[in-house]
């Protein structure tokens, strides 16, 4: 019968090293433990193996074709040589060296299918969300289901796609939606049990402070929390951006600033209470969600050390804010094609140019509806003082409809898109966020269809995707091309870099597959090991 004693298999006392809060604070290092790379969202890896000098030797190491993938958005996380990659209602654990599947979990109960942006890790668990808003906790070693807890209801117009954020024993999750009428929020759940600890709505209830900035439809005001936020452990503060007010393209029924849509919220991570807010686009009519995650940085500003936030907004401006108070410090233009505001006033409010609202006939406005930038990652390098951002120079025709809004009926109050022969162009730009000075730019050919982000390393290499489906490496100082590789499809996700067994890798998903690169090494002939089969 069985030659081995049972005791060989029995549970051992030692366990695989757990991912601690401290580990999360150290990320990115050899690991890439969060969607944004690390709590600060700076998108800068300390790994030094790949340099501007040797980046030309990057070669593909493996490809993982993600089952049922169409238009992948997720960014992998990597812990101890294992990569966790999500797609719609599914997550895969891969050997980060080989791309081979270790385990998979497919959620068969989910009642909706939407894109997914990634996973979180804490302790011995990995977390991801289903499209119908369940937070799923899995054993990271086996993929075994610990629990799935509902935190949103698709009947209320929300759905879920963002990567959860693990913060000190809590898992913070956001909601997508907001283009058909819903009320956005952030929820904190206990990492061990999934119990809801707090919930903070991004749009006040009728009668609450801020509700006076709305007209009708405040109950469906939007303010989705599309992406993962960032976190300052020193003050235990979460920083999260909020989406557009609803209906997207017609604001006639919601005159006012529509707090706290298109804003940045600073929340106490313990309670979810708002410490401050900053609104980028008051009373938005152009679907310019505050999208990309706020980058937390410590800089010398006007001769003094200052804790700041950089945020590249869809409305075309790059903002510099004080991290402690939310006070507006400065802004600059991310793009040249920006015609709806002449600038930002001393308090941080845009100075609108009249006649730029959507109209029933259609009105050409720049930037377009997709915004000057969107969910793609950025990279801040304190050594060069440069923020690298992928931007889209595009103008769209915005139309509006004052038809009575109908929540949940695919009604957005209008629409937007480019006129024929007026397609935009993507650029990778390196900007000094303190002065607004553009140091260099890398213009991209292509159809203005991609959504790839950028990730940097301290050696001065930037990894990015271009608008023709290439993964590229460019010199962070000069913007000079170093290397490229054609993936065969559009890229809608952002790169990561990590190290396993002494080797640095770079990974990014295109529409259907995850690609992983490393420095060239000649392949040694592998013997077939003598194999005895019992």
């Amino acid at each position: 019968m069985h030659r081995f004693t049972l005791s060989f298999y029995l549970l051992a006392a030692t366990a695989w090293a757990q991912v601690t809060f401290e580990d999360l604070r150290q990320s990115p290092n050899q690991n890439w433990l969060t969607y944004a790379g690390g709590y600060s969202g700076q998108g800068l890896s300390p790994l030094t193996q790949i340099t501007p000098e040797n980046a030309q030797n990057l070669t593909p190491k493996w490809t993982f074709n993600v089952p049922k993938a169409k238009g992948l958005r997720a960014r992998p996380i990597v812990a101890d040589g294992v990569m966790y990659y999500t797609n719609t209602n599914a997550i895969y654990a891969l050997d980060a060296r080989s791309g081979r599947v270790i385990w998979r979990y497919v959620d068969t109960q989910a009642k909706k299918e939407a894109v997914n942006r990634g996973a979180a890790i804490f302790g011995n668990s990995v977390y991801f969300v289903t499209s119908d808003c369940f937070l799923v906790s899995l054993d990271r070693r086996t993929g075994g289901l610990a629990w799935r807890k509902q935190y949103g209801n698709i009947k209320d117009g929300v759905f879920c796609s963002s990567a959860p954020v693990a913060v000190n024993g809590k898992i913070i999750v956001g909601t997508a939606g907001g283009d058909e009428g819903m009320r956005g929020y952030l929820t904190a759940m206990d990492a061990a049990t999934g119990k809801e600890l707090w919930r903070t709505y991004t749009i006040p209830a009728r009668g609450e402070p801020g509700s006076e900035t709305w007209g009708n439809y405040i109950e469906y005001g939007g303010g989705a929390t599309w992406l993962s936020g960032t976190y300052d452990a020193a003050t235990n503060t979460l920083f999260w951006t909020t989406g557009n007010p609803w209906p997207d393209f017609y604001g006639g029924d919601r005159k006012g600033d529509n707090l706290y849509s298109c804003s940045l919220l600073a929340l106490d991570a313990e309670t979810g209470k708002m410490k401050w807010y900053f609104q980028f686009t008051p009373g938005d009519w152009h679907d310019w969600d505050a999208q990309s995650w706020p980058i937390l940085a410590d800089v010398q500003y006007e001769g003094k050390p200052r804790k700041v936030i950089f945020h590249a907004n869809r409305n075309g401006f790059l903002y510099l804010l004080d991290r402690e108070t939310g006070k507006y410090l400065k802004s600059s233009k991310l793009i040249d094609n920006l015609d709806w505001a002449s600038g930002i006033d001393a308090k941080g409010r845009p100075i609108p140019i009249p006649g730029k609202d959507p109209t029933p006939e259609g009105n050409r406005v720049c930037p377009g509806v997709r915004g000057a930038t969107n969910w793609m990652s950025q990279s801040w390098n304190p050594a060069t003082g440069l923020l690298s951002v992928v931007v889209l120079e595009q103008c769209d025709i915005f139309t509006s409809s004052s038809k009575t809004p109908e929540p949940g009926k695919n009604f957005a109050g209008g629409g937007a898109g480019p006129a024929p022969k007026d397609a935009g162009q993507f650029y990778l730009r390196a900007i000094n966020p303190l002065t607004g000075e553009r140091k260099w730019q890398y213009p991209m050919t292509g159809k203005a269809e991609m959504w790839a982000g950028v990730t940097g390393t301290v050696t001065g290499v930037l990894f990015a995707g271009d608008d023709d489906g290439h993964v590229i490496a460019v010199d962070a100082k000069s913007g000079k091309h170093l290397w490229h590789y054609q993936t065969g499809d559009n890229i809608y996700a952002s790169p990561v870099t990590f190290m396993v067994d002494g080797k640095q890798y770079v990974s990014i998903a295109n529409a259907t597959s995850v690609f992983t690169f490393g420095l060239f090494e000649p392949v040694k002939s592998v013997p077939v090991p003598p194999m005895k089969i019992k």
């Binding site: 019968m1 069985h2 081995f4 049972l6 298999y9 029995l10 549970l11 695989w16 040589g81 294992v82 050997d95 080989s98 081979r100 270790i102 979990y105 068969t108 109960q109 009642k111 909706k112 299918e113 939407a114 011995n124 054993d139 070693r141 086996t142 075994g144 289901l145 610990a146 629990w147 997508a176 939606g177 907001g178 283009d179 058909e180 599309w226 989406g243 997207d248 679907d287 969600d289 509806v369 997709r370 969910w375 209008g414 629409g415 937007a416 898109g417 024929p420 269809e449 559009n490 809608y492 529409a511 592998v526 013997p527 077939v528 090991p529 003598p530 194999m531 005895k532 089969i533 019992k534």
Partner: protein, 267 residues
């Protein structure tokens, strides 16, 4: 985030780009649910169907649906693409050497409900037995939890069963316990390696190619081993799950275990 559609060429592009472009997929899910006969999933009708089955079908398809002269009905592959209507028609009219059943309509649909239940997630089915007794047995010394995990506790030598009620069916659960070698779960062959540096390593093979082995050690740790570092590999093919539960456990024990396991993944 929303992108308005201006032309059909852009329709494709916008579908890909939009954060909210999920309606097409959601629609599909609704269509699938549309045409269900009211008996489907109804425990009383399934039980009635089982009785009819034991009388008229089990002789060829096996008392538990595992097959005989007729094909196994507990493997989804054989007939899954059939609609419920087609299944009803096949049963009533017969196919090949299988005789026509010619039952009254409701009895026919009871059979369809029963046959479908054989491949439905166990968690959705009613099952006899005492789940609490099954739970006790599962977690007892020399029980199942030395190898299997549920809810973050237990061993790593067998599949994590936390969601088994969703991924397995009632007949399969029973068979997994009494005949572990019948249908293997990938990733649980044991390998004993001697490495070129003289050290030894044993674990379960999560993945094996010509170039690398992914082992899971007994504490759950994963170890990715390049083949060029390996001197010899000894692979144990038969399942390491004891094959004698059929005789060691009573019928009731097994029924109780199935009753406990089918609830895993229920939430």
């Amino acid at each position: 985030m929303r992108y308005r559609i201006f032309s059909t060429v852009q329709l494709h592009k916008i579908f890909l780009l939009s954060c909210s472009a999920t309606l097409l997929w959601a629609q599909h899910a609704k269509d699938d649910e549309a045409a269900k006969h009211p008996f489907m999933g109804n425990p009383d009708r399934i039980e009635a169907g089982r009785k009819t089955y034991l009388g008229g079908c089990a002789g060829c398809h096996g008392p538990e649906g595992g097959g005989g002269r007729g094909p196994s009905l507990i493997e989804r592959g054989a007939w899954h693409p059939m609609t419920d209507d087609n299944l009803y028609g096949t049963i009533q009219k017969g196919v090949g050497i299988m005789p026509a059943a010619n039952l009254p309509t409701d009895r026919g649909w009871e059979l369809v409900a029963f046959v479908r239940s054989l491949t439905a997630p166990a968690v959705e089915m009613k099952a006899p037995g005492d789940a609490t007794a099954g739970e006790k047995l599962f977690w007892s010394t020399n029980g199942c939890s030395g190898c299997h995990r549920i809810g973050g506790k237990g061993g790593f030598a067998g599949p994590d069963l936390s969601n088994i009620g969703r991924t397995s069916t009632l007949p399969k659960l029973r068979r997994s316990i009494v005949d572990p070698d019948f249908e293997r779960t990938p990733g649980f062959e044991r390998a004993d390696l001697t490495l070129r540096d003289g050290s030894k390593l044993s674990g379960l093979v999560k993945d094996r190619t010509n170039y690398r082995l992914q082992l899971q050690l007994k504490d759950g740790t994963l170890r990715s081993v390049p083949v060029e570092t390996i001197e010899t590999v000894e692979l144990t093919k038969p399942s390491i799950m004891p094959a004698d539960y059929k005789t060691k456990l009573t019928r009731d024990d097994i029924t109780n275990l199935v009753s406990y396991l089918r609830q895993q993944g229920a939430n």
